[in-house]
Subunit: 333 residues, 2 copies
Amino acid sequence: MKKIINDPDEVVSEALAGMAQAHPDLITVRTKPDYVVRADAPVEGKVALVSGGGSGHEPLHGGFVGRGMLSAAAPGAVFTSPTPDQVLAATQAVDGGAGVLHIVKNYTGDVLNFETAAELAAAEDIEVRSVIVDDDVAVKDSTFTAGRRGVAGTVLVEKIAGAAAERGDSLDEVTAVAEKVVRQVRSMGVALTPCTVPHSGEPSFELGDDEIELGIGIHGEPGREKVKLQPADAIVETLLTAIVDDLPYAEGDQVLLFVNGMGGTPVIELYLAYNSARKFLSDKGIEVSRSLVGNYITSLEMQGMSITLLRLDEQLTELWDAPVSTIALRRDA
Amino acid sequence: MKKIINDPDEVVSEALAGMAQAHPDLITVRTKPDYVVRADAPVEGKVALVSGGGSGHEPLHGGFVGRGMLSAAAPGAVFTSPTPDQVLAATQAVDGGAGVLHIVKNYTGDVLNFETAAELAAAEDIEVRSVIVDDDVAVKDSTFTAGRRGVAGTVLVEKIAGAAAERGDSLDEVTAVAEKVVRQVRSMGVALTPCTVPHSGEPSFELGDDEIELGIGIHGEPGREKVKLQPADAIVETLLTAIVDDLPYAEGDQVLLFVNGMGGTPVIELYLAYNSARKFLSDKGIEVSRSLVGNYITSLEMQGMSITLLRLDEQLTELWDAPVSTIALRRDA
């Protein structure tokens, strides 16, 4: 295992300490229990958004804390759910009196621990709603999941719901728009290489020198199949066919196309895959009106990518375009 | 070789086509010869900035084209200098009558081809100045370089000189501030794994399973030495000791600390290394007043990082803080 770390037990806390010092204008990191919170939290009178999950997917979620996106993020150990007390503390810290929305990726541990935290918060008269993101079309039920896994679509839920909260929408309204994004977003990924969790020291799965895994999970959970390495156009066709057929997306749809790197893939390959995806969607008569390309939800140093489509309408487009000030996503006012 | 590509000959052109479609609000890509240009170029009456170099270092340089940074970028083949006709066409496209500054990383091919382009542009009465970036303290003279290599400091030169051009500074003034950044910036890198150029299909160098290379170049050029894998604190101490002793940076200095990923390193490790760097600099009495952490100048899928220090003063801080709208670096007005 080759990593730039000191002690596997301290990877998350040292990285959080670094993030706090690098971005004091945007975030504050609180410890024991650990969470990342907007520097100006709580924002009185506005709905607050809390997400979280295992570490190792950076910039998700801490990199999306800030004006127009998340109010706080609870980072677990690498690939491990955050504890209920982390989520509760984050929820308490950001509550501005208008309620708190929990955005939860669909992994059994995350769902349970956010539920527990929501119950504890409710006992303190904080109004909490939850939305579960399950955008991965690759498989039903998986290593850590009942139903579908929550993957890159989570970034879009956080951005769009965050914009709704920022402009002053009510908890009902913010929850409704988050649920709408979940209904209209689908994703699927591919791995070229495995990744190694610092604690285990061994790759999370194996792939031959000429093999890739279609439908991989963001923790290396099994996908649909291992196949020989293919050209980018063929990989993209496989992912997008599964995605488009699932919702389904149809001719005339306007979509946001998100090509996400798994951490170890060069940006040049992500743009190349984006180009392949544009050709595929153009042939289907699906119009790409918004785009996101980069490493936004990663799996440590895994090489690979995921593709995400979100069907847009006027409401979602306006919220997507709204200003945002976070470490990983910034857009001018 | 495992890459998300179609044909090695088309990697750069397909990635550029993807970039153009993903970011039409920020950039335009022109072909034959290929270059990336601000969507609103030329900007009349303002100094224009042109950079470029081999592809494979994305987001450098195309990801830094936009308001407040580069006017255009000329991307060569992977790890190959852009041709003089690319640089000339980019220079012609952005000239707004106030002159053009070429920002060139110190590699022999880049320097020669930018010189040729500058001479051809001068023959067309375009006033061109050049600044050569050579911030890598690791080695003198290298595989593709006489003198020191130009590495991550280039990002800071482009941002700061771009801000000076954007506010309307003259060509003399923009050139002077770029040269000042070059004088005050130093970098050094480390590789944990090699990378593979698509055309060659083989790793550019070899490292044992427990080995890292200190002082690596961004194309895998030899560094100072191969050593056994060390804790992050020790790696950072080695890099920063070389950097601090070189300029030298002194107690009381205010600096920008830039921890840059080589492409395949997880963001969590970059923040962990940033935390190590803060401890080291604090012990030396060097104050970090600005920060940049992420994958900004990469070496394809190489795992590793570089650390860069820039000594700041009021002028450089103000220009660093100025708004910027590019693919990879955005900051609110």
